[in-house]
Symmetry: C2
Subunit: 203 residues, 2 copies
């Protein structure tokens, strides 16, 4: 198997695969915008991407995943990269928090699309799990304990999920205020309680 100097595979196969992946998620996003998320069948997405319906499920394992994948793109790798690129004199807690906040600051406003449908909300919240492994790798590079890094990454991902839940809920249940501030603020607030754990592991 021919490979580039870094782990990236240069073969036509792999390029075609990524192209199909991208075609699928972009088709999904476009159709969801046009018709509304509920009026898009999985067959439509597959047809728009020029593949069979069965192939769709070789790439995405639920109808909603393609849509949220188009929105979140490659957020997970960029979070990990941002942590890895942070100079060592910045504390681990700061590195992680800033990386998260930066990557979750949404340039294009996809919030409207996501909040529309409950199933999309859930799929979107599920994406927090994806950052877990890359982030664990980035943290492990700064502390020398891979197991601890894994737990911390999982904790961070969980905190991010909590922040996103608060952001997506207009109101709690009964009259309680639950000030839904800006997403960056919510993220910082949710990550705050984990700072001691990150600092302790890095110290």
């Amino acid at each position: 198997m021919k490979r580039g100097m870094l782990g990236t595979v240069t073969g036509l196969r792999e390029r075609k695969k990524q192209a199909t992946r991208e075609a699928l998620r972009e088709a999904a996003l476009r159709l969801a915008r046009e018709r509304g998320p509920d009026n898009v069948r999985v067959d439509d997405i597959a047809a728009a991407a020029g593949v069979s319906p069965r192939t769709y499920n070789n790439y995405y394992s639920s109808r909603e995943q393609a849509i949220v994948a188009a929105v979140t793109a490659e957020r997970e790798t960029r979070v990990a990269a941002a942590v890895a690129a942070t100079p060592p004199d910045v504390g681990l807690a700061d590195a992680v928090v800033e990386a998260i906040v930066a990557q979750y600051t949404d340039p294009g406003d996809h919030a409207l699309l996501i909040t529309t449908t409950p199933a999309l909300r859930d799929a979107f919240l599920g994406t927090t799990a994806v950052i877990e492994h890359p982030l664990a790798g980035a943290i492990a590079a700064r502390i020398d304990d891979a197991d601890t890094a894994r737990v911390l990454a999982a904790g961070v991902a969980a905190a991010v999920r909590v922040a996103l839940e608060r952001w997506l809920r207009p109101t709690g249940s009964a009259g309680l205020v639950t000030v839904a501030g800006s997403l960056p603020d919510l993220l910082r607030a949710a990550l705050e309680p984990l700072r001691p754990a990150l600092d302790a592991a890095a110290g």
Copy 2:
């Protein structure tokens, strides 16, 4: 609607509902043991519990949930109760860790059944999310910040999930040792990195 002095509903309706729930999960567990998890259709479970197949999905939203629900029973409420019952002179971190370890010490050995099928493994790992809300309540009773409690509970749940993943994986991928110790040990190890966060919130 008539209610007891505590939140519990005394009506026949609610009792029947819980009875159905229990009948379903016990039927699911029994059939899974008898035939093996893959040879149990959702219709069989419903029939064994004396309800229609459609009703099954009014109680459990996936085929595997009933089985794991039978195994985990009401672990989540007992974890929360254990934390709440811990005397205040015990640190929050100790209270949480011991409560988790105690409730995840499995009297009946269901490990064999769970590890058999990938889908069951996933469903079992999914149950960690259920302890999140009760645990958040119990933690919130000890620190006066509900938002922080929520994040900490989510972090703890995530750590438990990591521990369970390690427990269920015989080996990593390539030759790496990854000593899969006893579950209590794995739980303590996974929760260790979060202690600073718990202590900081309690202090």
